[in-house]
């Protein structure tokens, strides 16, 4: 296991979750409209699979909600 910071909370991920793409699949978010920020860098969708996930990384997964 390795610990990352996910949406402001510590989260334990399995070692085989190697990339941001894997993390999204883990939460069944692969086909959803979500945006990911990795260590303060906003990722484009194409970057998800190629972005490695390491212990201590800070990840934000955000989406569109109702608002004015």
């Amino acid at each position: 296991m390795k610990t990352i910071q996910l949406n402001g909370q510590p989260y334990e991920v399995e070692k085989h979750i190697d990339t941001i793409g894997d993390l999204l699949e883990h939460f069944h978010l692969g086909e959803r409209i979500v945006i990911v920020e990795h260590n303060r860098r906003v990722l484009s969708k194409e970057d998800h699979k190629a972005t490695p996930l390491r212990a201590g990384d800070v990840v934000e997964i955000v989406h569109f909600v109702g608002g004015g």
Partner: protein, 254 residues
């Protein structure tokens, strides 16, 4: 036809998507409003409950232009960060810059709004800053390259209508970019007033989503925008202090 940056819209009504009682009511209200532009906020996803219903994912995204906001930001830096997140969705490059300075009045921070506007214009966004009714700040925003100016009629969600129509008129008369009256609208009458002042459009949310019948109110707002715009284009009569008979004063039957 309303043009903002590289976008063109049929409808001059922009609708917010917050505080609806259900997704079904919201869908019907959006339909009834005939709005082309819908606003959204960006928030953390609850990754442990990812299947909660999401309005945007049910929308026909070919029909609507998304206008995400930077609500929640209290600094220019936060606003820029949220704008970049929104753009990374590849769904839109329009952004409503909203940097709130005060939790009680929800009035915008003019300096941070201007700073964020400058950065986002530079980065190629289509930028629509939410601002107060101050004509001087409005001028600085379009000078900084904002593609439209969105002055509030009254504090967000207050339903107070247009508190300072005179200042809004100054902004409208001077601005080379479209002016969208955003926030504070309570009723169709407020919308008509804004449009008759010469506003290019209105953005409203609570006035519809919290109405007793949001779907009917959405339709009322649609007609109010059209009526107000037509009235503005038609040119109203001057107000007089004396009566002026509408019927002929000759050939009276006595």
């Amino acid at each position: 036809m309303l043009k903002i940056g590289r976008y063109q819209f049929q409808s001059r009504l922009f609708l917010g998507t917050g505080k609806f009682s259900s997704l079904e009511v919201q869908r019907e209200a959006v339909e009834a409003s005939e709005a082309d532009v819908l606003t959204f906020a960006i928030r953390r996803l609850d990754v442990f409950n990812p299947d909660q219903p999401n309005f945007l994912e049910k929308l026909d995204l070919k029909r609507f232009t998304l206008l995400p906001n930077t609500a929640g930001a209290t600094t220019a830096e936060e606003a820029v960060r949220i704008a970049r997140l929104a753009k990374a969705s590849n769904l839109c490059d329009m952004i409503k810059v909203e940097v709130i300075a005060d939790p009680k009045t929800l009035l915008p921070d003019p300096i941070a709004t201007l700073e964020a506007t400058r950065i986002l214009v530079e980065e190629g966004f289509t930028v629509l800053p939410y601002t107060s009714d101050d004509p001087v700040i409005a001028r600085k925003l379009w000078e900084a390259g904002a593609h439209a100016i969105m002055p509030g009629g009254a504090p967000i969600g207050s339903g107070q209508g247009l508190l300072n129509p005179m200042y809004l008129r100054y902004i409208i008369e001077e601005s080379p970019v479209p002016v969208i009256i955003d926030a504070g609208i309570g009723s169709p009458a407020d919308v008509v007033q804004a449009m008759e002042l010469g506003a290019d459009g209105v953005l409203l949310n609570t006035a519809v989503s919290q109405a007793d019948d949001p779907v009917k109110m959405a339709e009322a707002m649609k007609w109010a925008v059209k009526a107000g715009r037509l009235g503005f284009e038609a040119g109203r009569i001057p107000k007089r202090t004396t009566a002026s008979a509408s019927s002929p004063q000759t050939g009276l039957v006595k």
